[in-house]
Symmetry: C2
Subunit: 333 residues, 2 copies
């Protein structure tokens, strides 16, 4: 077996709706699948210490504070310095870990990573990306909520960051990059997208032009760039409609005894479909533009989503994601 470079991923043991019950086995599954991977758990002594003692390749760093989902992110990060999220980001900054994974508060992870890891030189705004399953190859879609108001130059940087992620984590060769817009022609759209189109045409290698909302799930490009307001709305529409549609299909399949019998036959196929559509396959949402790897899992992450997130964090760290982003942006600023 090819020996990979050893990498240490710090994992927030108490982030997410199902923490720590699903986080701990997720961490164990991740280290079991990669012999060069170590995990450092941050969280309360009584949660992380016994688990680390009984598991090889897992260490514990005890923390005394907890950032909750309803805490104000920036305030919580400033005041709760001994929380699992703040300590995790500081471990990365200090070089004790190569990456951080949390299924906790997105806002707090963003604030802590930006404050403690710092922004990559030249990056104006870190952005949150999501990796969406499509009919074709997965697509890196960003920004999905870090920046509600964007300038054209921000979108250009999002393109560079998304492209680096597609290369390093998804293995895309020469990633194709599109701008989300309300028409295909360069002159379509808002003032923001019209100006961004012009800039991206000049500055972004692999830029293929505009795509529309229906193309997000078609898998025709590797990276789709938008502002954080539009991206968040689009992502939530996708999540809401997927749940609603699959729920209604399920209701149809179980509305009579005959239907239920027929549905039994179809269950394996429909389960495969559901898992193919599961965004957790791609391991959570990377925060791009900070000087370290930070992957934010869905609040509802179960153990397999946690394991996937840790593996993606390791891969991004091994591939040198932050320095790759720094080089692209540095070369152009």
């Amino acid at each position: 077996m090819h020996q990979q470079r050893e990498v240490v991923v710090c994992v927030d043991a108490i982030g997410g709706d199902k923490s720590p019950d699903e986080i701990l086995p997720g961490a164990a599954a991740a280290v079991a699948s990669d012999e060069s991977l170590r995990v450092v758990l941050t969280g309360p002594e009584e949660v992380v210490a016994p688990f680390a003692e009984s598991h090889e390749h897992i260490e514990a760093v005890s923390t005394a504070e907890r950032i909750d989902m309803d805490d104000h992110p920036a305030n919580a990060v400033r005041t709760k310095k001994d929380s699992s999220i703040v300590v995790g980001c500081r471990l990365v900054r200090d070089g004790a870990a190569h990456a951080f994974f949390s299924a906790g508060s997105t806002g707090a992870c963003m604030a802590a990573a930006t404050l403690h890891m710092g922004r990559i030189k030249g990056i104006q705004r870190p952005a949150i990306a999501t990796i969406l399953p499509t009919a074709g190859t997965p697509v890196v879609f960003l920004d999905v909520g870090a920046n509600a108001d964007c300038k054209p130059q921000h979108l250009v940087q999002f393109a560079h960051m998304g492209s680096a992620y597609a290369k390093i984590v998804l293995g895309a060769v020469d990633p194709s990059i599109a701008l989300l817009n309300i028409g295909e022609e360069p002159t379509k759209g808002s003032q923001l997208t019209q100006e961004a189109y012009a800039l991206m045409s000049e500055e972004v290698p692999g830029f293929v032009g505009n795509v529309e909302g229906r193309d997000i799930v078609s898998g025709s490009v590797d990276v789709i760039v938008t502002d954080g307001f539009t991206g968040n709305i689009a992502l939530k529409v996708l999540e809401g409609l997927s749940e609603s549609l699959l729920g209604q299909v399920k209701d149809s399949l179980t509305e009579s005894a005959l239907n239920r019998a027929a549905a039994m036959v179809l269950r394996p196929s429909l389960t495969r479909l559901r898992s193919r559509l599961d965004p957790d396959t791609y391991g959570g949402a990377p925060l791009l533009g900070v000087s370290g790897v930070c992957i934010i899992g869905h609040g509802s992450s179960g153990r397999s989503a946690v394991a996937a997130g840790i593996r993606v964090a390791a891969q991004a760290a091994r591939g040198g994601l932050p320095s790759a982003i720094g080089e692209t942006v540095g070369a152009r600023s």
Copy 2:
């Protein structure tokens, strides 16, 4: 049977991918279902005249020009004065018809209606709404593309217009109205949504606050307001994902002989589901804010979608939609 007020709907016979083949029977079905409804078809003599001669309650107005989907909308409307779309809008302006329906170019319909019917006094920007099927009651969602860049005051007017439509066409009593945003709290979102939230709280009766992208299909409110860029992206995401998901479910159901047999049993339930989700049920997208009723059908409209669109146009005309909008906006400006 209750005798309704007679109403004349002008129908573009040559608008849409399936025109005139699906438009003409759609018009016939609409008049057959409502004895106080008359249709005036606009289109080439050889298309509209024979059909009108052989059908009661259908008349024909011959036009010599055609606006194509790839014509520049505003230019086409200015230069092709004898086109089915321009003539249709002028018939409404002149009082010869009460409403106009077309499944042709959205941009051309918008330009022609704005130019020839005119804006309602006090309305700054007409908007295009779409009526979405949800798990609950249908929701009026606007703007879905007329205005890529909006000011807060525009969103306030969209709220009034959407509310009037929900009352008159969907029968909503005291419609509830929400602002599409990326968080529920008033302080969330872009500069536009934060300012719009404050204005809507003061000026819009029935305003219930922010909803997120996932709430668009939940049916929890009657009207959801957004700018035309975000609205268009959200609508296209909904359309693209619905097709993609239902297509993948269909593929799963037919991937083996056993699955196909089971799927036969489920077909009636799944067909009911599909028709419940079909947006054509609600008859196309109303252009709100112009001094006349204008309903724009999907380009792919078949005969039942055309009939639904004509019925909705008749209902909006009978309910006095433009004057209801004028009264709400006039009372506040």
